[in-house]
């Protein structure tokens, strides 16, 4: 029973040290709490109230009504008014507004002939009638902003003449499963579990072995009969509980504050989270055997954390990335967890449905632990 009791000894030692390190212990609770509230409210991909400038060269009742109609969509908000296009361009350059709405002085004629008014569609060869009624100048550097304004391109104008807008029949019917209201928080909150676990789990464990070395405890430890595997396992167990605690905070608050569903698969969720925690911890241990100081360990954690945020599908869809980036993403545990956790809580998927990601995660865990134990030498040379 020596291995088991030694693992227990290391576990209780880590626990005692962790309990006395108030700052770290506080971060364990505060990081998920604050980041959940921050990101849950802050990240929103349904863009509203983009500040715009208006250049009204027509100055008629109809131009003013048109501006009000555009504002009524809530996509944009008129914050500046200019008389010349040059002023509007300067305002975009200096970021006072993100776009400018330019209404030409022949607005009335253009409107009457526009197909958007619903007076009938003129032949496309007729240059006179196929002209747009007004122009948008957009700061296209942000593709999300540009996309939102592009959405206004085909705005119906029939309302201008108190006519019911054309009943347009969509080419395709789109049914939105799992998040019909298209709330961003539903996608963000489960993903946040993956990001925060990546950060805290890898950071804690990558510092674990290095700390022993930095504080001079390592020379004593390697003079004892402790085996590398016992040391590794004993060191990661306390952090498994921390990981579960953080997951509970994020998903629990996500449910209470943002009404993010928890799914009906507590077992799958627990098993999947444990797997991910295990994979992250063993990855952290590998870093720990490479880093010589705690600062280096932190730098390596950041090196892994940034791609985990950007490539894992947390912020941007995995499918939109080039193939090479997708391969890189596959090598990050966070990518697989992102798919799994969204599957469990949002799509009512189970471990079996997500078996590919489950296998990946098991692979990360076993490989990481083996590499860390192999790399950890009980020698000084």
């Amino acid at each position: 029973m020596r291995p088991l009791s030694r693992i227990a000894a290391i576990f209780f030692k880590e626990l005692a040290q962790l309990r006395r390190d108030r700052m770290t212990f506080g971060m364990v609770i505060m990081i998920p709490l604050i980041q959940l509230i921050l990101f849950g409210y802050a990240i929103n991909t349904n863009i509203r109230d983009i500040p715009i400038a208006v250049v009204d060269q027509d100055q008629t009742a109809i131009s003013r009504i048109l501006i009000q109609m555009v504002e009524a969509t809530r996509v944009v908000e008129v914050t500046e008014r200019y008389t010349s296009v040059e002023e509007a361009e300067a305002a975009i350059k200096s970021a006072r507004v993100r776009a400018a709405f330019i209404l030409p002085d022949d607005l009335s004629q253009r409107i009457v002939r526009s197909p958007a008014t619903g007076f009938g569609t003129p032949p496309s060869t007729d240059e006179e009638t196929s002209r747009p009624v007004a122009q948008w100048i957009v700061d296209g550097s942000d593709t999300m902003i540009a996309g939102a304004i592009k959405g206004l391109r085909n705005m119906p104008l029939a309302e201008l003449f108190r006519k019911a807008p054309n009943r347009s029949t969509p080419t395709f019917e789109v049914a939105l499963f799992f998040n019909p209201e298209q709330r961003t928080a539903v996608n963000i909150v489960p993903g946040l579990v993956g990001i925060i676990l990546t950060m805290t789990m890898i950071m804690f464990t990558s510092a674990a072995i290095v700390r022993e070395r930095e504080r001079g405890n390592m020379e004593m430890l390697i003079n004892t009969p402790v085996r590398p595997m016992e040391l590794m396992i004993g060191k990661i167990i306390p952090y498994i509980f921390i990981g579960l605690l953080q997951t509970a905070i994020i998903l629990g608050l996500g449910y209470l504050l943002f009404n993010v569903p928890l799914g009906f698969r507590p077992f799958d969720l627990l098993a999947g989270t444990l797997l991910f925690i295990g994979a992250s911890l063993s990855l952290g241990l590998v870093l720990s055997t490479i880093a010589q100081t705690q600062l280096q360990a932190t730098q390596m954690t950041v090196f892994l954390l940034v791609p985990s945020i950007l490539l894992s599908g947390f912020m941007f869809p995995y499918e939109g990335m080039p193939v090479i980036a997708q391969y890189i993403a596959e090598a990050l545990p966070a990518t697989h967890f992102m798919r799994m956790v969204r599957g469990f809580v949002l799509r009512d998927a189970g471990l079996l449905d997500m078996y590919r990601d489950v296998l990946w995660m098991c692979g990360f865990f076993v490989l990481g632990l083996a590499v860390a134990a192999f790399r950890f030498k009980k020698r000084l040379d």
Binding site: R6, Q17, R215, G216, M220, T224
Partner: protein, 308 residues
């Protein structure tokens, strides 16, 4: 025929081009305190680390307690204790927690563990300190804790790497009494030091310099076989006398000790006092007398300073 606990032959450790230990032969018998005496960088710690299996020798053979090192180092670790140069237990754990941790790591459990922890806390006066954090204790207290942790599993052989460099003289004396208690109980001890008074307490010492063993034997024997006589000179202008004498034929070394100049004269000169009195430089000296050699003299004759 006494039992041999450490045997090393032709031990070499190279770090890139630098030889930290260069051809070391060692034989250490059971039941003695064996000291490595030498300045910093002389290879004491490196040699000790090779004996415990922490470093792999570049060349040479090591056998400790009948086990081949580093091959059987893991088995050996149950039988030896090691005290590092700097305090290496956990500063944010209490005395009791540290001892419990170490005892469990060495495979002690249940009643046996409790009993041993009680014993070492009693013996090293830690019982009253058991709930103190190790990081908040004084140098002497920490050292007692480190020794207690190193002997918890009753090792046959104890390695101490400069054990008293961070403690006051009073604690140091006390510490050595405890080492002799351990020896009486059958433990053999290997210790490195750069303190002469500490080396003098060892049963046997090896004087190390630049990775090589310059002398090996009991301190008393080494003093007897030093190859030089010691003469002390009192008087004015000791610095001038020293400058005159250094480098002169028959003089090994000269060093000032307060109001006296301590001169080592080669022992092939039959009358060292007369030899010095005859020198012009000592004309103003008020006293020239022969004194007993000490270990520092041995060290000086054995190492570079005396062999210029």
């Amino acid at each position: 025929m006494p039992e041999i606990v450490v045997r090393a032959e032709g031990l070499v450790k190279k770090f890139k081009d630098f030889s930290a230990v260069d051809g070391l032969d060692l034989t250490i018998e059971r039941g003695m305190i064996y000291g490595f005496l030498g300045p910093n960088g002389s290879g004491k710690t490196t040699a000790m680390r090779m004996l415990t299996g922490l470093l792999t020798p570049t060349e040479g053979k090591v056998e400790v307690l009948g086990l081949s090192v580093p091959k059987d180092a893991e088995t050996l670790k149950y039988k030896i204790g090691y005290m590092t140069q700097t305090f290496s237990l956990y500063g944010d754990l209490t005395v009791l927690e540290n001892l419990r941790f170490m005892a469990t790591i060495y495979g002690l459990s249940g009643k046996k563990r409790k009993q041993r922890i009680g014993e070492v806390m009693e013996r090293y006066e830690l019982t009253d300190l058991k709930d103190r954090f190790a990081g908040k204790m004084s140098g002497g207290q920490r050292q007692r804790l480190a020794l207690a942790a190193a002997v918890l599993h009753e090792p046959q052989l104890l390695f101490l790497d400069e054990p008293t460099s961070a403690v006051d003289p009073e604690s140091r004396r006390h510490f050595w009494e405890q080492l002799f208690d351990l020896v009486e109980g059958g433990t053999s001890i290997v210790v490195t030091t750069h303190f002469m008074d500490e080396a003098e307490r060892c049963h046997r010492i090896a004087i190390m310099e630049a990775g090589q063993k310059r002398a090996d034997g009991a301190p008393k024997d080494l003093m007897a076989a030093m190859g030089a006589n010691v003469v002390e000179i009192e008087g004015p202008n000791l610095r001038d006398i020293r400058r005159e004498l250094l480098g002169a034929e028959g003089i090994v070394a000269a060093a000032q000790l307060g109001a006296r100049l301590r001169v080592l004269v080669k022992d092939d000169i039959a009358d060292p006092e007369g030899f010095l009195k005859a020198k012009a430089a000592t004309g103003g000296a008020s006293l020239i007398e022969r004194v007993r050699p000490n270990l520092e003299d041995v060290f000086v004759t054995a190492t570079g300073e005396g062999r210029q």
